[in-house]
């Protein structure tokens, strides 16, 4: 019974849930802010992309651990 593969799968799924929730919340507030003040849309868009890349970076930490688990197990 290869529990390593199971752990990798579940870990990757949970990591994606976290990233999806985080980036979704980020996008919602960014879009709301752009709606309130369309002149500031440019800087808001830039800040949104930066924050999204950082949140994705954290999700990728979990992904790397899962890949290590799936490859070494």
């Amino acid at each position: 019974m290869d529990l390593g593969f199971l752990g990798a799968g579940i870990g990757a799924g949970i990591a994606v849930i976290g990233a999806g929730l985080g980036i979704g919340k980020l996008a919602s507030s960014a879009l709301e802010a752009m709606g309130r003040q369309p002149e500031a849309a440019g800087p808001i868009r830039t800040a949104m992309i930066i924050a999204a890349a950082l949140i994705e970076g954290v999700a990728f930490f979990a992904l790397v651990v899962c890949i290590l688990l799936a490859v070494k197990a």
């Binding site: 930066i50 890349a53 994705e56 970076g57 990728f60 930490f61 992904l63 490859v71």
Partner: protein, 280 residues
Amino acid sequence: MFFSSDSSYAAVQDTVKHSGSGGDWILHHVMDGNYLDFPPLGKIYLPHLQLFGLDISITRHVVFLWIVAALLILTFIIVSKSYKKSLIPHGFTNLIETIVVFVRDEIVKPSIGHGYEKFLPYLLTAFFFILFSNLIGLIPWTATVTSNIAVTASLAGLTFFATQIGGIIHHGPIGYFKGLIPPGMPVALLPLIIVVEIFGLFTKPFALCIRLFANMTAGHVVILSLIGLIFIMKTYFIAPVSIGFALFIYLLELLVALIQAYIFTMLSSLFIGMAIHQDH
């Protein structure tokens, strides 16, 4: 990418035979290897070299490191030569100048502020190196240099040394480490804050390394897995869906290539700025 020169049935047989535990061929295509792979045409085997017991054989990523370096040198020689003819850029020089001015005015100057000129060469080099490696990795039959953790670790290490040396030169060795602790901190918290700040010095470049590595590797793995679905399901009907998704992910990868270069440079300049201007 997984093309095949044999008939399609034989190709499917081939994949299933080489599948192993199902995902090995994906890692084969993404990780480093001792040969350059041009799937229908063949392979070019690269020499194994050893130096005092250390393996310095020329691998795929080493060859592409050289190619990216040669491209960078060529680009900037062309650009600098064209400035000798006229200070007003045209054509290719204009493009490179636009990007350089973007990095300087949007990324480096706001983050570092006063004294940014000393760090501009390193940050521009990092930006263009990561940009070129990421974009070249998207061409078929090439390898992505930045999907090798040794390369990203070296880039992160360079940023680490740039921040520490910058901070130490600016504040002096004792002053720099004293300045890590925010002013007005209750003495009871001091040991904890010291440990957290020292760890923070190392985790920030580590995060830079892993972020770039994982972004580049994950993109290629997703594209390969989507195309590999055709072989795993052993049917052609999944091909339009598979290739459609793979195309979408490929375009996303293009965006991610640009964004990751921007993020690495921006975070590096942020860390350098925080090390130099330590007033929290």
